[in-house]
Symmetry: C2
Subunit: 118 residues, 2 copies
DNA sequence: GGCCTGTTTTGATGGATGTCTATGCAGTCT
DNA sequence: AGACTGCATAGACATCCATCAAAACAGGCC
């Protein structure tokens, strides 16, 4: 993020993922899923804690799934959701890079600012 | 994030920050600012690389500022913007936590299927 | 088969958002 | 002072989004 100014395509893809995180209900859903034992939860576990209707929860889960942040699978009657760690790690790394701005990099970190030209 | 399901208030605040990141132009603005030498850039440096009008850039910068992601200051003729590392670090840490879910994943059971569904 | 529960999809609606043009405000320079 | 540049604000408009009620779909059970 600091090394080069983030091209249009990359920004568009990342923006889609961040947009999926830009709703309080979806954030809580994600953390709720992640905090469940085994790292997965069925929809029936997720509808309770919220004030919104069950179809709305289903909609939010779809948004998270299409953003590549969670995976889902049907097992018999119930549908289970789990977090996809790689996606979160990707976003985390991006923000981490932005949190260590150019020029403030101590020796060894590798990100020499010098010329951010490209 | 994994430890506890993220309360309503915390989720609302975080969602506001993520929402600020949910636009491609704002993401590129942020990375552009971060990649500038000294970690700051004036608006005149930021309007060029985009296809949108200057007022639109100004609007996006305002959104980033109100989300607490960047700071700004007027110096004579120009206004400078810089990234607020603490904010990005906060979000990064949250996602990092979600990316390393429940270390107590039982053997076999929780092993995230990674590509199972969708 | 028929019903019942769990989940998704559809259609509608009020509100938020990104973008523009036009205008206003703040400093600088002659 | 007046004019000119850099940036922000105001208003307008089209689009997107979160939400709900209703209906459709899927699987299990009698």
């Amino acid at each position: 993020m600091v090394r080069e100014p983030l091209g249009e395509e990359a920004a568009a893809e990342l923006a889609r993922m961040f947009k999926a995180l830009s709703d309080p209900v979806r954030l809580r859903l994600l953390s709720l899923i992640a905090s469940y034992e085994g790292g997965e939860a069925c929809v029936c576990d997720l509808t309770g804690p919220f004030d919104v209707s069950q179809p709305t929860i289903s909609h939010h889960l779809k948004v998270l799934r299409e953003a590549g942040l969670v995976g889902s699978e049907r097992r018999g009657t119930w549908v289970y959701y789990w977090v996809l760690p790689a996606a979160l790690a990707k976003l985390s790394a991006l923000l981490q890079a932005g949190a260590v701005p150019a020029g403030a990099v101590p020796a060894g970190a590798g990100a020499v600012p010098a010329e951010a030209g490209a």
